[in-house]
Symmetry: C2
Subunit: 190 residues, 2 copies
DNA sequence: CCCCTATACTCAACAAATTGAATAGGTGCG
DNA sequence: CGCACCTATTCAATTTGTTGAGTATAGGGG
């Protein structure tokens, strides 16, 4: 049950509704924790039952009302306890890599090139959003100044990880596309 | 049910027993698909029932007998079909990043520095194993030669991704450690 | 000879994630 | 004025993943 902690960490950045969290998870957090909206709503429910978050309904005129969640003191305690426990090794699932692993047996390099192109596009989009977020966080300062002075380094360090991860993806996807294209055009070896 | 495909992809590199696959998943595959041995055994069972893999018992004198699994033609077909379907976006879960995200609220930078050190060690170990595997694959050739000529590019391209990912982790963990250490020692800003 | 480690699995119970559908008001486009 | 899309959420069913224990053989070290 670890999405709980990812949710608490997200709420530690400020209160939010389930819907807002779903977007936050898609924009800023997605490179280190993945979850669907359904999961978020369910776990927010449980967090509330356990007293780790509190909900209040915010009436809205031009759109449906929403329930805004705030982390409680007990929630912060739970986050601290979580911080002290040893971390599980990171878990990753990447279908594109699975397909590539089997590429030499399955043939059909075209479909793989297409898949790599899709990854390239996606990673460029994610990177662009991360860059925006970065500009907003830095707010004119240099990275070094920010890391030394600011009272908010956590989100910047995680953003750094996501940013570099997408940069890696872009470079890597380009290599994959080039390699597979080159081999398809001139397979005069063997 | 996607571990199925990761398993088939692993078996496309050659037959293996559940136990051997468990090790393969720990060494070469872990950066793009994570699974516990129990999961592997259960899903191999199902793959066998569905006729996507075949098992045969290999008698061993000096150790317990093992069941060695081979991908069937039907399994290869399933892999091909999987290759043609659009890929799900990669999913990732990283507790260290969650802890870092909340770092400014939880305080206790020491525990986080420790956690980052653990990540650094782990990534260095993984990288070392990847480098070994790389040498074995390249077998004297340059990367460029290999990518152009070899009849096995898939495993190399996935290895490349894992290698660069661990290199990124190492650089990043060092930045985290330095940043948190610097701030703990001289927090003379406000 | 005993204990530890490695090989090679199996079983059961539980927790978590995925999928698909459903509801319901508001906004914007042609 | 109809259709698609956005906000905002809920429900149910099924599939996956995790945890912990348990079985059995063999080799090596002290």
């Amino acid at each position: 049950m670890s999405l709980r902690h990812a949710l608490l960490a997200a709420l530690s950045q400020g209160e939010a509704s389930g819907y807002e969290l779903a977007k936050r998870f898609d924009v800023a957090v997605a490179d280190y924790w993945t979850a669907t909206p359904q999961q978020l709503y369910r776990d927010l429910e449980r967090l509330e039952q356990d007293g780790l978050v509190e909900a209040r309904v915010v009436e809205q005129t031009r759109r449906p009302n929403k329930r805004v969640f705030t982390m409680t003191e007990k929630g912060l305690e739970e986050l601290r306890a979580f911080g002290r426990r040893p971390s599980k090794p990171p878990a990753m699932r990447d279908e594109l890599l699975v397909k590539l692993q089997a590429a030499d047996r399955t043939g059909e390099p075209e479909t793989l090139i297409e898949a790599a192109r899709a990854r390239l596009t996606r990673s460029k989009e994610k990177l662009a959003r991360y860059e925006q977020l970065r500009e907003r966080l830095l707010d004119g300062r240099t990275e070094d100044d920010y890391l030394g002075d600011s009272d908010e380094v956590g989100p910047y360090l995680t953003l750094m990880a996501g940013r570099e991860y997408e940069q890696l993806n872009i470079r890597w996807a380009q290599t994959v596309i080039e390699t597979l294209t080159r081999r398809r055009q001139g397979p005069e070896a063997g």
